[in-house]
Amino acid sequence: MDYFYFIITVICIWVMMSLAANLVLGYSGQFTCGHVGYLAIGAYTTGILNIFTGMNFFLTLPLAVAITALTAFLTLIPLLRLGPLHFGIATLGLNVVIVDLIHNLAPRVQGAEGLFGLTMPAVMMSGPGRCAIVVVLTALCVWFSRILVSSPFGRTLRALRDRPEALVSLGKDVDYYRILVWTISGALAGLAGGLYTATLSYIDPTVFVVLFSFNLLVYIGVGGLASILGSVLGATLLIAFGEALRFGGLPSDISGPVQQALFGLLLVVIMMFRRQGLVGQYEFRE
């Protein structure tokens, strides 16, 4: 039963990540291929602060959000002038660089490759309690994203994606909106990262490799671009499917690659036949 709570928690965290990626990719047309790099920043901020300075877990969360948002902000600035393809490749590279920098520089718990041993309030230590908190936070993120995209700001984002020149002619600063939504997205990723550390109880750089950024693309690609429902659906269906595969009797050294192969195949199929995903409002046009 604890495992069930664990899966629900993991799904929620990837729903948050899907929201973060969909805000920039689906709504504002910034082709991220490396959002898991930001997840890593959030996760390590929480882990390091909690383990090495003994800061209260619930205090580390806002700091993880702030630092990840700041990282996202700073790393986007030089990439603003790139076209869609180059932007995608650069963000992919960014993910690799972040993970390798963490691998080389981040502090570790003695005798391990990564971090473990968070001290958390009792409610976060128990499976059901953590699950409840994460579900509530995810619901808040979904609610927040809904408000965001249905507000005038959301309309501006879609205009930014479809007709940036029209926005310019209305006297709006295109870069300002791109940076703003990217920073918000980074903040969401930071929150997801902090919670991810608490959920996994052990993190190391391999948890955040660029492969998971590709999987994130699969989640929002299947669910649907520019759709809040799609972000929730994609991650939920695919992670549940992956777990079902494991319970379906396949040994774990087979089920891992099988799942990865299916995800890769899904990317090809989506791009060929249904670029708007299940319930998407927008399709990959580039």
């Binding site: 393809l85 690659p257 791009m271 670029r275 990959f284």
Partner: protein, 284 residues
């Protein structure tokens, strides 16, 4: 003297990069396809060579030729089966990139399933080392450079002197206009994919013979190659790819010697910086 040794292994690495780079660069320059699946073609050839030569004990030249043909056909099938339909359905460069990435993930996962991630080395026995004075290297390192040089010369003549070569250059200059003046772009495209994939196959065979294949070999090598291609730019395809590959060979060999932990960071940082500062190459 260690530095001279690094130089030699760097040049040998350059050979691998150059073979991959010219194929990748040609596809990108002519068709604007960011062909990540080049890594899968590379991997397929390497694994097939390993299978034929090491497992079935087929003669090295025969297995090499078979692997090469399979690689060329695989590359063409990727274009025919995925890229062309995708573009026909209104996809753009980014969708093609993602589909290509997806295909590579499929390849890597299947390879992981079949090999359990073990290293597949196609040769039997060790490569003979050569010692000249204080410098020792493997004869194979030099041997790689020779066919690569010959290949480059041959390719250069093919692209500069033949009709297909002329069509390829026309596509690189202006694909739309090339179609308008009556070039059969589909046929040229086929030629490009066959040729480039055979080259990727060659690199794969060399790698399988030399250091051996793991499922991620292709992607690891390809990203260094991509940096080399961006370094070179598409304006002077041959000299660019060659020059970029030599730079990257020396950079990776030197970095691997001095601070091996930082090689990946250096490669990908270079990738990002180049995309921002000089996306059309150092000489573009």
């Amino acid at each position: 003297m260690a530095l001279l040794q690094v130089l030699i292994s760097g040049l040998s690495l350059s050979g691998y990069y150059a073979v991959l780079a010219i194929g990748f660069g040609m596809i990108f320059a002519t068709l604007r396809i960011f062909h990540i699946a080049h890594a899968a073609v590379f991997g397929l050839a390497g694994y097939m060579f390993f299978l034929f030569h090491r497992m079935y004990q087929i003669d090295i030249w025969v297995s090499g030729a078979l692997a090469l043909v399979l690689a060329a056909v695989f590359g063409l099938l990727i274009d025919l089966g995925i890229y062309r339909p995708l573009l026909r359905r209104g996809g753009g460069t980014f969708s093609v990139f993602i589909a290509s990435l997806g295909l590579t993930l499929v390849f890597e996962s299947v390879a992981l399933m079949l090999t359990k991630g073990t290293l597949s080395v196609a040769r039997v026995g060790a490569l003979a080392p050569v010692t000249i004075g204080p410098v020792s290297f493997r004869w194979f390192d030099v041997e790689v450079v020779v066919p690569v040089a010959l290949l480059y010369a041959g390719l250069y003549i093919a692209v500069m002197r033949t009709r297909v070569g002329l069509e390829i250059r026309a596509l690189a200059d202006n694909a739309g206009l090339a179609g308008v003046v009556g070039i059969n772009t589909d046929r040229t495209r086929t030629a490009i994919f066959l040729g480039a994939s055979a080259l990727a196959g060659l690199a794969g065979i060399f790698t399988a013979y030399d250091s051996g294949m793991v499922p991620t070999s292709g992607m690891d090598l390809l990203f260094i190659t991509i940096v080399a291609v961006i370094f070179g730019g598409s304006r002077y395809l041959f000299m660019g790819a060659l020059g970029g590959s030599i730079i990257m060979g020396l950079v990776t060999a030197l970095a691997g010697f001095l601070f091996p932990q930082w090689v990946t960071i250096i490669v990908f940082s270079l990738l990002i910086v180049l995309l921002i500062v000089r996306p059309n190459g150092l000489f573009g």
